[in-house]
Symmetry: C2
Subunit: 146 residues, 2 copies
């Protein structure tokens, strides 16, 4: 399914990580606020709100911040890859409902990174139009058997 | 999430593969019927029916039948693993909506194998009670930060 299917509902912070004052190897102090935002999205999700996605590339975060965040969120039970134009990885954190999603292009370069707060990342779902297409393919294959 | 969360809606055939007359290396002739059954489940899914799961261990199929089936269904875009007591793999076939699901125990022995016909395998979904539990863990972690 196309990458534009990623449900971006809430994106906070529009300052790039390269903004003045951010030292790549140092914590910026912005990551704890992000953890609080994730908790708030989880509360809203449980209350019936739509899933949310946080664009990590649009946040004022250093690589050290991302490492800190990854460590705090931990590793969960589900690990998925989606092979489309490039590889996307959809990794459940130790907080069920919080997924770390990384998109790579066909040269294996990371082009986008999101934290998604959802029961199930949209990317993993088969879309009805694709299922219809797959069924037609299967029916053709079956008619060739007889 | 627990393995008993696997949504087994339709299970056809109760004869084990070891029944008299099945030669492991040979096609039994039963696999094409299974392909037709999968297509029927896909049609029903698109028409709004509940997901279905076919227990491959409960079918009169030889290993050669399973290879034949795997080859006909092909490989899709999504490949997921779930690490609980053992590893489960949830692999999308080239027919979106048709998933090949294999459960292994903690000694890496295959203990169950299903074809699931669903937009999204239940195993990949975060369950609300787990999300609630994860949120509480996250809130504790946040309160420790301040």
């Amino acid at each position: 399914m196309p990458l534009d299917a990623i449900p971006i509902v809430a994106v906070h912070g529009d300052a790039p990580s390269a903004q003045a004052g951010l030292v790549p190897g140092a914590l910026s102090g912005n990551a704890p606020a992000l953890l609080r935002e994730i908790a708030e999205h989880l509360r809203r999700l449980l209350a019936g709100a739509e899933p949310a996605a946080i664009d990590l590339r649009a946040m004022p975060l250093t690589p050290a911040d991302l490492d800190w965040l990854r460590e705090r969120l931990g590793s969960g039970e589900v690990n998925a890859t989606l092979l489309a134009d490039g590889e996307s990885t959809i990794v459940e954190t130790a907080c069920p409902g919080v997924w770390w999603v990384t998109h790579r292009n066909d040269r294996d370069v990371v082009v986008a990174e999101f934290i998604e707060v959802t029961f199930l990342p949209e990317l993993l779902k088969a879309h009805p139009e694709d299922v219809q297409f797959g069924l037609e393919h299967l029916e053709l294959l079956i008619s060739d058997l007889s």
